[in-house]
């Protein structure tokens, strides 16, 4: 069995005694095949009992032990030490608490904000069946309907995507990926009856339209759920339901229209079309400043060469959509 001295550099903070967070270094002999969680347990049991972290099932299903390992959010219990060795294998493995959530102690963060957001955004199915008729018969659900939400039901609420989300980092009130994923999962469940209300709720301020598509949530999802596809699907659903009055939807519509007509964005009128007159007027000082620096976007935008090919793409997309709707 391959064995090796491995160094760990672990984030420490106990608000009762530490003025500020610091990093602690440990060196332990580890054999190949050991997980980060087992290494943490070893350190806690043999070197530093005060080291504090959450862990429970040890099988990658409860989501308790999500931490950042070498800067990336993942589950300690399913991450192999060997996979985290960098450099010549001698660099310490960095273990830190999840981002975007308040630290309680060491690697333990407060996940109440996630719970609150779930609560506010109708993260549940409201079934069509009347309360008195519960349990009498099954809904009939085809394999296809189930497949649509199958991956999304894998979510274990570990918080990794929440920690990775670049929008949550700048705006803690942002709805966040796991909550949008739940909304997607519920809205595409054929048994649910809350679609419109839920969509209205999640698309409000700090909501659905604020996602900046950095894809970090999906990239680091410990269950490999295509979270961003879910977010896109919710946005499409807004258009299908003609819920196009929000700034986000208008912004998307403006992009859509501009590219079709010229292949470019008409930035000068974009604020007007997205925000409306009042909010656009508030942007006048910014526009003036931009003007002084010679950064005024052109008012007249000529179509790009090959615009026909761009429009061809639109035609194909629309034909696809028509075919799909016809099939349903």
């Amino acid at each position: 069995m391959e064995r090796k001295e491995v160094a760990f550099r672990i984030y420490r903070y106990n608000p009762q005694v530490d003025r500020q967070p610091f990093y602690d270094n440990f060196k332990i002999a580890v054999e190949r095949g050991i997980t980060i969680l087992r290494a943490l347990n070893y350190i806690k049991e043999h070197l530093e009992p005060r080291l504090t972290f959450r862990a429970f099932c040890q099988a990658g299903i409860c989501g308790s032990c999500a931490v950042r390992i070498n800067g990336v959010s993942k589950l300690a219990c399913t991450t192999q030490v060997w996979d985290e060795l960098t450099g010549s294998g001698d660099d310490p493995i960095l273990v830190e608490p999840l981002n975007n959530l308040p630290v309680i102690r060491d690697l333990v963060v407060d996940i109440d904000p996630v719970m609150e957001k779930l609560k506010q955004n109708y993260s549940w199915v409201r079934p069509a069946i009347a309360e008195g008729e519960m349990g009498q018969k099954e809904h009939c659900v085809s394999d296809g309907e189930f497949e649509a939400i199958n991956a999304a039901t894998d979510c274990i609420l570990c918080g990794s995507c929440y920690s990775e989300c670049s929008m949550t980092e700048v705006n803690p009130r942002y709805i966040s990926p796991p909550v949008l994923l739940k909304a997607f999962r519920m809205n595409n469940d054929t048994r649910d009856t809350l679609g419109c209300e839920r969509l209205g709720q999640v698309s409000g301020d700090n909501g659905l339209w604020d996602c900046a598509h950095c894809y970090k949530c999906a990239e680091h999802c410990v269950k490999h759920i295509p979270i961003v596809d879910g977010i896109h699907r919710l946005r499409e659903e807004m258009f299908e339901r003609h819920m196009t009055r929000s700034e986000g939807a208008r912004h998307a519509q403006a992009f859509f229209d501009d590219i079709r007509s010229t292949g470019r964005l008409r930035e000068a009128t974009l604020p007007l079309r997205t925000l409306g007159v009042v909010k656009t007027l508030r942007m006048v000082p910014l526009a003036a400043k931009m003007g002084m620096k010679g950064r005024t976007p052109p008012f007249v935008v000529k179509p790009v060469p090959g615009i026909d090919r761009v429009r061809g793409i639109y035609r194909r997309l629309e034909a696809n959509r028509a075919a799909k709707q016809g099939g349903e």
Binding site: A59, C62, P127, M134, D143, T153
Partner: protein, 567 residues
């Protein structure tokens, strides 16, 4: 600090959450709160992979509740109470459909109905599932519905004691894990749903680190008897290195068990049911193969192989994705290409708080789920019947509690209960103490696995009892080195160890006394079932000095009378 509620539910696994949901639905006027040491979705219910039994007859059209009852009673080796089993099985189709109605994403048959697969020890295919993430999806569905109904949660609160005066419920004392503050929760009704205690086998266990039987231990100390503690289920297929579970669904889908010679050895032990014999039988057969030198060997101990390769990559990816992932993460093998190394692992506690249709000996205190012994599993639980147990009895307790609460007065937790708890916690930090948590815990796990394991004898059990007694003695000197009050995991571990030690003694003592073999309890020195002397439940209570006192209770029979159990 004191909280007051009509109903307090301790535990936020499937059992606790269904109780909470049903209580609000039954009577929205009652105030309820769920107190849990974990965030709800992290409860161990999430680990259940295989499925939940219900005679929906979607697969085998001729399946009936009757047959489900028969399978369960036979599986229990006739130790289950048949009135409870009748209730369990007759409610099954309704609760499963109800979960479906509330959004649980069950896998489907081509005709759109809930899919069902074979599971061990049953004559019909009646196990409903969501791929191999059944528990996870049911738990999330229940949690979502609790959010919908505005259920109040006290997450990361640790139950310290159960309080009652003259047999009438007063509430509980719990510790806020973030601050170590000790708080009283006065309540007219307490529903315990704290899960199982099979972690006392430590790394020879499929259970989560916190399946330490806290509710059972609190009940024991509050004078409520525990029942049938000697019955611990060993699951046949734990991963060799970690004890983590490979679901019975893997065999349900057609997986083979092989020994060193590549032989499907179950042909010699259960020629008809083969790999799908009941768990106790398959686990013992495997242990025999290991003892007789037919196992493969490795640094991490002897093992047998679970071969899925013939199922094909497609089926493995679609129906057993988690198993594939676990095998890759924890054994470094892909079951599409190689057999999975497995051996039996402690898995489920049939025994628990003595409860009659969820009611305990104390008026106003209920117990449901794995912490309770209702008893529907008797001496051996069938796969897929535990999720059913938590749903059916969780629901029932929630309903009854909501109806009963308005008629009960609120009796408050006495302040002295808080002082007592505070004194205990403080005592752990005393400088005169020297014993270490990790050492006692390791020895407990080893004693349980070696002396109170799958094959039991008088001699080993006696040693087991002595060793656990000695460990309990040493525990009195255990030292808490971390004196902080913010999220003190060391303190929680010590409290859990105390609970496991008390329960381990109950398991060892009852196993020693039961001189017969029945279900999961196998005595090499008494290899036969002895109905004359032992067709009865065991009860344990704690004496003042900390010793266990044993008693017995008759089994409630019904339609099915005693028969030999063969498969």
């Amino acid at each position: 600090m004191e909280h007051k509620f009509d109903i307090i539910i301790v535990g936020a696994g499937g059992g606790g959450l269904f109780a909470a949901l049903e209580a609000v639905r039954t009577n929205p006027q009652v105030s309820i709160a769920v107190v849990s040491k974990l965030y709800p979705t992290r409860s161990h219910t999430s680990a259940a992979q295989g499925g939940v039994n219900a005679a929906l007859a979607n697969k085998d059209r001729d399946d009936t509740v009757e047959l489900h009852v028969f399978d369960t009673v036979k599986g229990s080796d006739y130790l289950a109470d048949q009135d409870a089993v009748d209730y369990l099985c007759s409610q099954a189709p309704e609760v499963v459909r109800e979960l479906e109605n509330l959004g649980a994403p069950f896998s489907r048959f081509p005709d759109g109905t809930i899919a069902q697969r074979p599971f061990g020890g049953t004559v019909k295919d009646r196990c409903c599932y969501c791929a191999d993430k059944t528990g996870h999806t049911l738990l999330h569905t229940l949690f979502e519905q609790c959010l919908r109904r505005g259920v109040k949660f006290f997450n990361e609160y640790f139950l310290l004691s159960l309080e009652h005066a003259d047999g009438e419920c007063q509430g509980i004392v719990a510790m806020n894990m973030r601050t170590s503050a000790i708080e009283a929760f006065s309540a007219k009704i307490v529903i315990l749903a704290t899960g199982g205690h099979a972690k006392m086998y430590w790394n020879r266990s499929s259970n989560a680190a916190g399946n330490t039987g806290d509710g059972q231990a609190a009940a024991l100390r509050a004078g409520i008897p525990l029942k049938d503690m000697e019955f611990i289920q060993f699951h046949p297929t734990g991963l060799r290195k970690s004890g983590l579970l490979v679901t019975e669904g893997a065999r349900g889908e057609g997986g083979y068990l092989l020994n060193r010679h590549g032989e499907r050895f179950m042909a010699r032990y259960a020629p008809q049911k083969m790999e799908l014999g009941p768990r106790d039988l398959v686990a013992r057969s495997m242990e025999t193969e290991i003892l007789e030198g037919n196992a493969l060997t490795s640094d991490a101990g002897s093992y047998l192989e679970l071969d899925l390769r013939h199922l094909g990559a497609e089926a493995i990816k679609k129906k057993l994705p988690q198993i594939r992932e676990l095998s890759m993460h924890f054994e470094g093998i892909d079951p599409i290409e190689e057999p999975i190394p497995v051996r039996p692992t402690a898995h489920y506690s049939m025994g628990g708080i003595d409860a009659n249709m969820a009611r305990t000996a104390v008026s106003g205190i209920y117990a449901v789920g794995e912490c309770a012994c209702v008893s529907v599993h008797g001496a051996n639980r069938l796969g897929g019947n535990s999720l059913l147990d938590i749903l059916v009895f969780g629901k029932r307790a929630g309903q009854e509690a909501a109806l009963e609460a308005p008629r009960r007065p609120l009796r408050r937790v006495a302040p002295s209960a808080l002082w007592k708890a505070a004194d205990e916690l403080k005592s752990y930090t005393s400088h005169e103490r020297y014993e270490r948590y990790g050492i006692i815990r390791e020895e407990m796990g080893k004693t349980m696995a070696d002396k109170v394991g799958i094959y039991r004898t008088e001699e080993r059990l006696r040693q087991g009892v002595e060793e656990i007694r000695a460990l309990r003695e040493r525990f009195r000197h255990i030292r808490l080195f971390d004196t902080g009050t913010v999220y003190n995991t060391n303190l929680v571990q010590i409290l859990e160890l105390k609970n496991m030690l008390d329960l381990a003694l109950c398991v060892a003592e009852t196993a020693l006394v039961r001189q017969e073999s029945r279900g999961s309890h196998y005595r090499e020195d008494f290899p036969r079932r002895d109905d004359e002397a032992w067709h009865r439940h065991s009860l344990c209570t704690l004496e003042k000095g900390g010793d266990v006192r044993l008693a017995h209770k008759p089994v409630t029979m019904g339609k099915y009378s005693l028969e030999t159990r063969s498969y």
